[in-house]
């Protein structure tokens, strides 16, 4: 236990650097995933074939082992591939699609048909109905999807360090390289706990976000 605190206090700078790196890839990956996932959901929620296609594709991506996905991203041409954070961000963005696409589709389809019909009766067009009625009502479900996807990314981003991505995974790899030395165990423990604490903070943030961005009228 003493070794743990010792390690923590003497390596605080490195820890902060890895925390920032982890935050960076998750934040960008989650932003991309949300943009792509919500768009896919909005484009496909009305059509059963399109719906099945977008759900199945994102489910297949989530089944692929993350190391394989990151490795493939690594070999793609520059905007995605290359060394560093980019292939990890691209891999995370793909990996996180399923919860967001699924919740967007479920949320939009769960909106009360009577409300949609009254919007229609008020003379709203399809686009206006989607953005002014359905999307705000589906929002709590969609944000929950983004939260689930974010938690997934926090854990998976660790594996991104194998393809040189930044974050807590770097500490784990360095601990493994120094297996048998006195600092290996505290380093591995700090790295693992860093990811867990990060995940718990993100989860809490998203619960607050869900609460405060839910339209007042439908807040539970």
């Amino acid at each position: 236990m003493a070794a743990f605190w010792n390690y923590l206090s003497s390596n605080f700078d490195t820890l902060a650097e890895h925390a920032w790196g982890h935050f960076y890839v998750v934040a960008l990956g989650l932003t991309l995933s949300s943009i792509i996932g919500i768009s896919l959901g909005m484009l496909s929620y009305r059509n059963p074939t399109a719906r099945a296609a977008s759900l199945n594709t994102s489910a297949i991506i989530l089944t692929i082992p993350s190391l394989a996905l990151f490795a493939i991203m690594l070999t793609l041409p520059p905007p995605i591939g290359g060394l560093g954070a980019r292939p990890v961000i691209a891999g995370l963005a793909l990996y996180g699609l399923l919860p967001i696409v699924r919740n967007t589709i479920v949320g939009l389809n769960e909106v009360d048909q009577a409300i949609v019909e009254s919007a229609l009766g008020m003379g709203m067009g399809r686009r206006e109905r989607l953005f002014r009625i359905e999307a705000p009502l589906a929002w709590p479900v969609i944000v929950t999807g983004i939260r689930v996807s974010g938690l997934l990314m926090v854990a998976i981003a660790t594996i991104g360090s194998i393809v040189n991505g930044p974050g807590f995974g770097q500490m784990l790899l360095s601990a493994l390289a120094r297996i048998g030395s006195a600092t290996a165990t505290p380093q591995a423990l700090v790295g693992t706990l860093g990811v867990i604490v990060f995940g718990i903070c993100l989860d809490g943030l998203f619960r607050l976000l869900v609460h405060y961005t839910t339209p007042r009228g439908i807040r539970g």
Binding site: T63, I72, I162, G169, A175, A188, T192, V195, F198
Partner: protein
């Protein structure tokens, strides 16, 4: 809810033969491709047919042994925690809370911690890590599966004169089967992925090929390994889905 009930699972909808066809196409394409291109000596060594076959066998061993072990441990533990006695009342809620938070635990962290803590690398330390990592999700699904059984169904069973054991065997377990099976299938897929990462702790398996491709900068090797492990994950998920449909009690 109309649309979501059938296709939220995402995995079970769609033509049932699409996935096996996709899996077969990936595997065939990989073998045709690595036989068609000119390979240098490093690529030849990493992609030798023997090496690929033994990696696949090793990978399946890792996944099957760890999943069977974790099911044998976590399902009884989950059942014990749903019995109405003092011990499970005290332990149940905190364990469920830990199991929920356990989703944030990184698989690489567990693998590395076990390696550096016990100074052990290889097959069995990896099995240990896989069991530890998949324990909480299966435990959680077992508890959730049993607790979602309608209270009034249990009461009518008791009213018909069933014993506690009878209620568990004839009512609670069959009704919990779908949720428990879903948890096991998820654990299978998680274990295929974690076993890939475990190449770093010398577990063997298809991760060796992917990682070998990364380290040696041989993208042919990397792609072949990645596609094969993706095909294995899809195949195991597909078989898990078939088992889920077959084992589900009729009428649910």
């Amino acid at each position: 809810m109309s649309a979501s009930a059938t296709d939220t699972a995402g995995r079970s909808s769609g033509g049932i033969w699409i996935r096996p066809a996709l899996i077969a196409a990936i595997v065939i394409a990989v073998f045709v491709w690595i036989n068609a291109v000119e390979l240098d000596s490093i690529e030849q060594r990493l992609l030798a047919t023997d090496a690929i076959v033994s990696a696949v066998v090793r990978h399946i061993q890792l996944v099957v042994i760890s999943t069977v072990t974790v099911v044998a441990l976590a399902v009884p533990a989950g059942i014990a925690l749903t019995r109405r006695n003092l011990l499970s009342r005290a332990l149940g809620p905190p364990i469920l809370a830990i199991a929920n938070a356990g989703q944030a635990v990184p698989s690489l962290g567990i693998l590395v911690l076990i390696a550096v803590l016990f100074r052990a690398l290889g097959f069995w330390p990896t099995i240990f890590a896989l069991v530890l990592y998949a324990f909480l999700p299966i435990l959680r699904n077992t508890i959730v599966g049993i607790e979602q059984v309608d209270e009034s169904v249990i009461e009518s069973a008791v009213g018909m004169g069933m014993t506690k054991r009878g209620v568990l065997r004839k009512i609670e377990l069959p009704l919990a089967v779908p949720v428990v099976l879903a948890g096991i299938r998820t654990a299978l897929v998680i274990n295929v992925g974690t076993a890939t990462v475990a190449t770093l702790v010398n577990s063997g398996g298809l991760g060796d090929i992917v990682y070998g491709g990364i380290v040696q900068s041989r993208s042919t090797v990397l792609w072949a390994g990645a596609l094969l492990v993706a095909a294995l994950a899809l195949a195991i998920d597909f078989l898990g889905g078939l088992a889920e449909d077959k084992l589900r009690p009729k009428g649910i």
